[in-house]
Amino acid sequence: MELSRRGFMKLTVLSGAGAAAGYGGVALGNLTEAASQDDRVPGGVERWVTTGCDLCSGGCGARVRLIDTRAVLLEGNPLHPVTRGGLCPVGQASLQLLYNPDRVKGPMKRVGARGAGQWEPLTWEEALRTLADRLRGLREQGEAHTLVALTGRARGIVPDLLRRFARAFGTPNVTDASGDDPSSQALWLTQGIGAPIAYDLENAKYIVSFGVPLVDGWWAPVRQMRALVQVRQGTPGRRGKLVQVEPRLSPSAAKADEWIPMNPGTEGALALGLAHVLVAEGLFDRRFVAERTFGFEDWVDESGRTNTGFRSLLIKEYLPSKVAKVTGVPEETIRRLARELAASGPGVALGPAGGQSNDRETAWAIHALNALMGAIERPGGALVARTAPLAQWPEVRPDETARRSLAMPKLPGARGDEPLAGNSFALLADALRSGAAYRAKALLLWGANPAFTEPGPGRVRQALSEIPFVVSVSSFLDESTQYADLVLPGHMFLEAWHDDPPPAGVPYPVVGVAQPAVEPPYQTRHAGAVILSLAQALGGRVAEAFPWKEFKDVLMASMEGLYRSRRGMIFAKQEESGPPRPLREWEWAPLPYKSFKEFWEDLVNKGGWIDPSYRYGEWTRVFQTPSGKFEFYSRTLRRAVEARARAQGKTPEESLAALGLAASKDQAFLPHYEPPRLAGDEGSYPLTLVTFQLLTLGDGSLADLPFLQERLAPHANVQWGTWVEINPKTAGTLGVHDGDWVWVESSVGKVKVRARLYPGIAPGVAAIPMGQGHTALGRYARGVGANPMELLGAERDPLSGTPALATRVKVSKA
């Protein structure tokens, strides 16, 4: 080991030189790398194009900034009368959807096993031919009804076209993944109209929201945010109040003036407790109840039997002391809330947002509370939205084959005409597996991803794998598309024409029209145009039902109705149109256009059309009930149940009892409280899990936007992941600390998520946001977080079969 000095020197110098050279090289590399990334974003001619955002039901108008042909910014359309230039974070981030590297770039057919993710590109002609041949085969064998079509997020004309196609083709099995809003059930039960309730939020003075995420993703978020501003700061000297009743301090609850935590699923009981106080203390709107309602007092029917009225039921069953026990809300709070509601002029109750097995009863009770307050058909109250006068398409004349198939019973879960029927693919999946009346032979997924969004996705995946032929019209290879035999990529919004029907909850009609802003860079086609081509390929009566060449023709044909109605106006600056609130009770002067072409051009350039008028007290329009009044006692439901019982050969009572409803007899037809059904026994699964949507992720189809993954929710401070919110007290008993990995386990499945200790959630309750846990989709979503749907699906609404989004769970350290 004796090293000579000379040797050592040499070694030192050499290694020093080596290190220096290496270091210098690296440093130089570093510098040149730094220099090369100085590359600038190419410039170009700037243009702004008016268009619209179709990523949720909000229907926001938008304008896009183009540099040459690149879209670089999406902004709210300042002319849009509802959103006035506002656009939520999803809209702001949506260019990452347009330019997502994981978009499907052309039609593909599956070559490997289902779910193996092996694909082979093919041309549109080949793809459409394959599809048409397959469908023609079904018709030829008289099995047109075995085609099931499922639409996803798409709104407006495209789903209408698909339903039209189903009718012309001959299948009764069309459903949409979004499900039904509970409020539309309430409106149907009490006013005979199966549509979501429109709330005149802007003019309300006191809002009690039963768990409605007003500002974080419900219906039309931008409109609601602006309405809230109007409620609070819009009237000089008066600040309207928002009370949020919810088990969890959601962003909406945080923005409310008062948060009243309560037990999950007991909103209905609370609403009835409030109603009890109003009635018991004589604080209700006597005039409205006397003149416009039915079933408040006990009444005698045609058969001479005395039926219980709403008043008796309330007084007997919903004492605040009793309600306090069920809901966990103190009795004095219930009384105070009811008195405040009565005292503050038009108060309005909203909700629920949905997710429990008793949603219908809850919505019903809440709407009944509105009726007691006289908040029906009154400024600041609950209204029935007016529809837009879009042109009707010519009637479909199904051919003989189609008529025979249409007469077949529809599969459970497929959307039907009567609101009692469930509208859920999960239900349908179960039916498919239990082999109901017949098996589905083909499935069209139109932008839907039931294998991710439906409760109990395992069963859905199983059902998908058993359907012989699955076609997915999708921009991404999402979980359901993995099971498809054929993938047909649709245009992304901003590449395609689309229309925005009126946002849910807005009382007056607003129609947005969005034009394409960028050239589609890939081999994609308009989802509507795919239906047209398919119909053409099938020929005969099916083709006849679609007398249009391209989607723009369909759109123009519909919009011509607006022009012909001579009503409303095209979007304009606020100074020109005035605020759409308070709702006007007069109609607009006829539109000043000489021709439809002129109207159309202005419509496209400004972004849409609005008729901001509303006539209060059109009683025949808003009460389509047997009594022509607001029915506390729902004869609409009674008729439906009787019809169902007749069909089953049972008495109505038997039929109801078979469903396992808690309420019986008259109670079943009056607004009442039905305890939520939560799967799992309390001993093994001590916590109640509620799920919620984030404004940033929605149902999960937006999980592939990195801008949104980075900022899921400010209060949780979690990025790129899923968390479970638990109260620090609950966590203490479980030995769980903030940020720990935990297993959340239900009777159905379990997921691994991070624990977030959140004082804003009731002890004994756990909450998980939806939208994560993708196993497919794109690189930004895959493998991030967990999907709470894996825990659900065991319990459902007994009447419609819609699965509940809540269950019992246990939480343990992972």
């Binding site: 879209a71 702001q92 790129w720 004082p759």
Partner: protein
Amino acid sequence: MAEAKGTPRWGMAIDLDRCTGCQACVVACKQENNVPFSSPEEAAYGREMAWIRVMAITEGEYPKVKTRYLPMLCQQCDNPPSVKVCPTGATYKNPEGIVGQIYPRCIGCRYCANACPYQVKDFNWYNWSGFRWPQEMRQSLNPDVSLRPRGVIEKCTFCHHRLQKARDQAAIEGRKVKSEGEYVPACVQSCPAQAMFFGDLNDPETTIAKLARSSRAFKMLDELGTEPKVIYLKEGEWSATPRE
């Protein structure tokens, strides 16, 4: 609104009563200013970048809990602590009071980020612009703003490029930029709840100047004497705010 008199002093007001914490401003800012997104690993490390963030503070114990949302962006201080410490003048206050960050001058010592009490300066840990933007997504980059190289600090500039654009237009029309409405940063433009206001604080007629005088107005960490040009309006009470 009248034309600005003298040198404008651009300022922002954020009405916390309106703000719903939706983060549209955050995303709009990132889209407008080419702020890169992070990967899950780096985000977990606290390295995601944003020039404006919505900060949430939850206080209290169940059932008396309150969560407050507070959009936090560069306060564009009149007396900015970050500018004082910058060794090269990469961070400086321009004549209109906007605190700029000159990327080719920045040596990346992060002294300004540490001196700033608002935590609104972000550092480019990686060569984001090179490989973090997939080719497809690079299409949505804004040509008015640079792609910051690795190793420099970046921050909000009140969308200064928008001011310049407005000023060019005004100059061609032979006038000055209006003190309100003509030049608006991306966050203010995007706010769905219209909780953000922007304009010249020197013009007493602007909405923002009026809001600054409102009884609800307060400044963040006012006691530090940084003299922010971002004004917050307290939550929970009604006040006469000018019409939108």
